[in-house]
């Protein structure tokens, strides 16, 4: 099992959600996050010395899927989230050791 974390523009959330639904993803966790990547937020230079970095607001979508589906999920998400401009976001793939559905006690693939 893998966890796929998709960090994307806020206004792309619906597109990504629809694209993930299309490849059969039924559940996800979404949170609003702040951060910056290669573009470094907005850099303000004041008298050549002081500067501040603004964090950019993004959404993070987390889904857990079986290994065989990872490629589908990434393809669908990156296609939907892409504008071609700086700040489209990132996708991380992490291994997941175990999953438990609390209500039923199911574990593993059955609990995803």
């Amino acid at each position: 099992m893998k966890k796929v974390e998709i960090i994307t523009r806020t206004f792309k959330l619906d597109d990504v959600k629809a694209a993930l639904a299309e490849v059969g993803i039924k559940g996800m966790t979404v949170s609003e996050v702040k951060g910056f990547g290669r573009q470094g937020g907005h850099k303000e230079v004041y008298r050549g010395a002081e500067y501040q970095v603004d964090f950019v607001v993004k959404v993070k979508i987390e889904v857990v899927v079986e290994d065989a589906r990872v490629a589908d999920v990434i393809n669908a998400a990156s296609k939907a989230a892409r504008t071609g401009q700086v700040g489209d976001g990132k996708i991380f793939v992490l291994p997941v050791d175990e999953v438990v559905r609390i209500r039923t006690g199911e574990t593993g693939d059955a609990a995803v």
């Binding site: 059969g24 990872v70 793939v93 209500r103 006690g105 574990t107 593993g108 693939d109």
Partner: protein, 946 residues
């Protein structure tokens, strides 16, 4: 890893549903596919009814006193559930939704979630449901199929009444437009399933959705049923049942929801439907024999599937046209059309249905439809099919006079785009869909305005006459040689269509050329004195598939058939030539050294005239374009043009082999020298002496295969390399210095969507393999490579030689910082050469990433050929093998380990398969002629290609 002791606590009704579904799946796997969808639907019905009883008896839950209807909608409403279908249900209340609805839906739906079913549910008051249906056409379609599962029947009755009075009565015209927009989107997303080797069974054109649309259109506009006979309806039911059974088998085989019948699942699905070889129970329908003759169950299955989908698509088109016939239709049949053929709003038809039309009249109708650019009406399609089913019909049709003239006329008129042709071949698929959808959402039509009146209304894209001739089997009846390949499936990752469909796509692409977007090709096509010969060759080029030498055998077939049809000898000779040589340009252009004049000379010699060369070129372009998106790239296009230009030049000016090469090379050198001493946009002016010395040191081939600006870029590269080398020599002991010094220069190639990347490094064994490996590691797809070795290094001297490897790579993905990319490539080559980066390990890591999925296409065989005759100076090594990441790196390593030096490489890679050609020599600069060594070379490469 589900534990035995955990899991949801299911009510008895859900447990029975689970057991029922699993025994149903077992029965379906054992062969009973056709019963599955209805039985699965009944099981879910039973669950809901039992569950309602359980809920009513449950202690503590107050019984729901508000009347409601539990309604199945969508596919479940039609009573068909495939193993992974959505279960769509609606809890419908007459007035407002009461608070108790929450407990009810929890009780009803939670166990279904726990079973893992895909549940779509709504809890609505009657008027909300109607409002939603008015706004959303998707909701409207799902409400067209409603069925009472349990609860108060009067609630559903009232809903149906109001739905038909208040929604449907006004919905027909916008719905018709929505269907068109929806189908345009389906075409863009899924393509025409009736002609694809990996069809989408539900949403592709010809898929189950077409049958649903027929059903909806007939419900909305009963008049649309006019052209259909009970026989048509029965055929529709049978075709639908077949595709539905295939979808059921597909879901069972894939164990998840997918409607795309991918290569890897086809054998299982074919087997489940009883296509297990020659011993099919009940015997196959006669149309199947072509597929069965090849002995492959999957081919027979696919061909049957395609025919079912073809009929579904044709019937849906006819149904739409009859539901919304154009209001401003004016008949426009070409002059000379015989009596008995009429142009009706719904297509060209026979004036009377009885007596049945004669074969000659049928042919005349298709010719008239093609010339008038009108569809063939459903009644005429049916008349054609039944005429073809008569005993002796094949002989009557094949013996008709004037077939050749009619076919040429139809081919000529077939150039316009059709619904069934792949969208990607017409430029911008995204734009087309956007336009189609915009056309649907934009217009605020005046009430009562029919489609076709508003300028923004979408016109239906229909099948041209040629497509209908293929669909009905008329083409195969007129030309019996076409019958064996009509439904033939080519199993590779290259073709996307069966041969018959591919053939008419080639004819269509050829007919469209004179008005095509490519001005140069259009001009060549327009000046051809005998364009019809090209069209006939397009039709005949694959007739002898799947024979090994399908070009030669096809030429003989074409000769025979044209002579029978009464073509003149010149036409026969030209068409046979074109069919025999139709792979000459693609093979030569992508696999041979185009700078070698003998290559262009051989092509010129085979053609003999510029007319034949042009026809061959146009045929190659149309053939490649129609094969699939992977066979045609701007890079291949540029290679085709280069070869044709060179061969054409030889034909016009006569062979001038040696003096011309010397002349070209002198001219390029002079131009380079003049350019080098001036400062460029991104480089300083080079001293004259330095530039001259560079020209001395670079191999003679450089001035033959490269242009002056590239030579100057290489001089500048050499200057930078010299500078970096000097710096490295200062820093490191002499034994180690210089090994990892690499310089890179990259420029885009105009029009070819490719980059030319030049890498300079100290010449050392295995360097080419390292560079190929690094490029693969950076996702750069190599198209061709040229190795130019500067004897004695750059001006200033060094120990050993400088290797300048020139790669043409496919344009990297958009949005990349290219300067940084090339800098990373340069660093990686340096690290790999100095032992700081293990390419084998990195490539293996990349291969094992979940993103690098292996192709699912049937694997091609590995083949290696060592050819000492193709070139005067090099041994030509050709390798065909299934593609994988880093393959070129491994092949190059194998070559290096046998001390075969790569001088030129042509890499034709499509996803799934490579065809690489290496021009190699031994370290002494000689061809590799020792049979023992060539044998070893073959074995080593076969091993590396694993």
């Amino acid at each position: 890893m589900t534990s035995e002791h955990t899991g949801p606590v299911l009510p008895p009704s859900a447990i029975r549903l689970r057991q029922g579904r699993s025994s149903l799946a077992e029965a379906a796997r054992a062969g009973d596919l056709s019963g599955y969808p209805a039985a699965a639907s009944r099981l879910v019905d039973a669950y809901f009814r039992e569950r309602l009883v359980e809920l009513a008896q449950a202690p503590g839950e107050p019984p729901d006193t508000f009347p409601f209807a539990l309604v199945a909608v969508g596919g479940y409403g039609r009573g068909e559930l495939c193993p992974a279908s959505d279960v769509d249900v609606l809890v419908l209340y007459e007035h407002a939704v009461p608070p108790s609805a929450e407990a009810l839906s929890r009780g009803l739906f939670h166990p279904l979630w726990d079973l893992g079913l895909d549940l779509g549910h709504g809890v609505r008051a009657l008027k909300d449901g109607l409002a939603l249906a008015r706004e959303d056409q998707q909701v409207l379609t799902s409400l067209l199929d409603t069925r009472l599962i349990a609860g108060a029947a009067p609630v559903l009755e009232r809903f149906r009444g109001e739905f038909s009075d208040k929604v449907l009565a006004r919905a027909a015209a916008p719905f018709g437009q929505w269907v068109l927009a929806h189908n345009a989107a389906r075409r863009a997303e899924y393509g025409d399933s009736s002609g694809l080797l990996e069809p989408d069974l539900k949403n592709g054109l010809g898929g189950l959705r077409d049958a649903h649309q027929i059903h909806w259109l007939l419900g909305l506009r009963p008049s649309a049923a006019r052209p259909f006979t009970p026989g048509d309806r029965q055929a529709l039911d049978e075709d639908y049942a077949f595709v539905l059974a295939a979808r059921t088998a597909l879901h069972l085989a894939a164990r998840r929801k997918t409607d795309r019948l991918s290569f890897d699942l086809q054998p299982q699905v074919a087997g489940a439907l009883g296509f297990a070889g020659t011993g099919q129970a009940g015997g196959p329908p006669p149309a199947l024999e072509a597929g069965l003759a090849t002995g492959l169950a999957v081919e027979a299955f696919l061909s049957r599937l395609h025919q079912c989908m073809t009929r579904l698509r044709a019937m849906r088109q006819a149904c739409w046209l009859n539901a919304f016939p154009p209001v401003d239709h004016s008949p426009a049949l070409p002059p000379g059309t015989p009596q008995g053929i009429a142009d009706t709003p719904t297509g060209v038809a026979f004036a009377v249905e009885t007596p049945p039309p004669s074969p000659a009249l049928i042919l005349a109708l298709y010719l008239a439809a093609a010339k008038a650019a009108r569809p063939v009406a459903w009644t005429a399609l049916r008349a054609t099919r039944s005429a073809l089913a008569q005993p002796g019909a094949q002989r009557d049709f094949a013996g008709l006079p004037g077939i050749l003239t009619a076919l040429t006329g139809i081919f000529h008129a077939s150039g316009r785009a059709a619904e069934s042709s792949p969208l990607s071949l017409h430029g911008k698929p995204a734009g087309a869909v956007a336009r189609a959808l915009k056309g649907f959402f934009a217009p605020a039509k005046a009430p009562g305005a029919g489609p076709g009146q508003s300028p923004a209304a979408i016109a239906p894209t229909l099948s041209p006459a040629l497509q209908s001739m293929l669909d009905t089997g008329l083409l195969a009846a007129l030309v019996p040689e076409f019958a064996p390949v009509e439904h033939l499936v080519q199993f590779d990752d290259f073709h996307i269509h069966p041969v018959g469909k591919h053939t008419i796509e080639v004819v269509r692409a050829l007919a469209a050329l004179p008005q095509g977007e490519d001005a140069w090709l259009a001009e060549r096509a327009r000046v051809l004195p005998h364009f019809e010969r090209l069209l006939l060759a397009g039709f005949a080029h694959d007739l002898a598939k799947p024979e090994r030498d399908h070009e030669g055998a096809g030429a003989r077939l074409a000769e025979g058939l044209l002579r029978r049809l009464g073509a003149d000898e010149d036409t026969i000779a030209d068409v046979a030539f074109l069919v025999r040589e139709h792979l000459l340009i693609p093979k030569t252009a992508t696999r041979r050294d185009l700078a070698d004049e003998s290559v262009a000379a051989r092509v010129a010699e085979i053609c003999g005239s510029t007319e034949r060369l042009d026809m061959l070129h146009l045929l190659a372009v149309a053939d490649s374009r129609s094969t699939g998106p992977r066979a045609w790239t701007p890079w291949t296009a540029s290679l085709f043009s280069e070869l044709v230009l060179k061969s054409g030049h030889l034909l016009l000016n006569g062979p001038l082999a040696e003096p011309r090469a010397v002349e070209t090379s002198r001219r390029v050198r002079e131009a380079a020298l003049a350019l080098a001493v001036q400062a460029g946009a991104d480089r300083p002016a080079l001293p004259q002496a330095f530039a001259e010395e560079c020209l001395e040191r670079m191999p003679a081939r450089a001035a033959l295969v490269l242009d002056a600006p590239t030579l100057v870029r290489h001089m500048e590269l050499a200057r930078r390399f010299r500078a970096s080398l000097d710096e490295d020599l200062v820093r490191k002991p002499s034994g180690k210095a210089g090994i990892g010094v690499v310089e890179v220069a990259a420029v885009p190639l105009a029009g070819a969507r490719a980059f030319q990347v030049s890498l300079a490094a100290q010449d050392q064994p295995g360097l080419f393999a390292v560079m190929a490996g690094v490029l693969a590691l950076h996702d750069l797809n190599i198209l061709s490579a040229e190795v130019l070795t500067w004897i004695g290094g750059p001006p200033g001297g060094m120990s050993g030689n400088m290797a300048l490897d020139l790669f043409v790579v496919e344009e990297p993905a958009g949005g990349l910082d290219l300067d940084e990319l090339w800098a990373r490539v340069r660093r990686a080559v340096g690290y790999a050469l100095t032992g700081k980066l293990s390419l084998e390990y990195r490539l293996e890591q990349k291969r094992s990433s979940p993103l690098a999925l292996p192709s699912r296409a049937p694997k091609a065989r590995r083949k290696v050929r060592v050819d000492n005759a193709a070139s005067d100076f090099y041994t030509v090594v050709e390798i065909a093998a299934p593609d994988r990441l880093g393959l070129l790196h491994d092949l190059a390593r194998a070559l290096a380990s046998l001390r075969a030096e790569v001088h030129l490489a042509r890499i034709a890679t499509s996803v799934g398969r490579i065809h690489d050609v290496f021009y190699v020599r031994d370290p002494g600069g000689q061809k590799i002629t020792d049979p023992a060594q060539t044998e070893e070379l073959k074995k080593a490469l076969l091993h590396a290609a694993k």
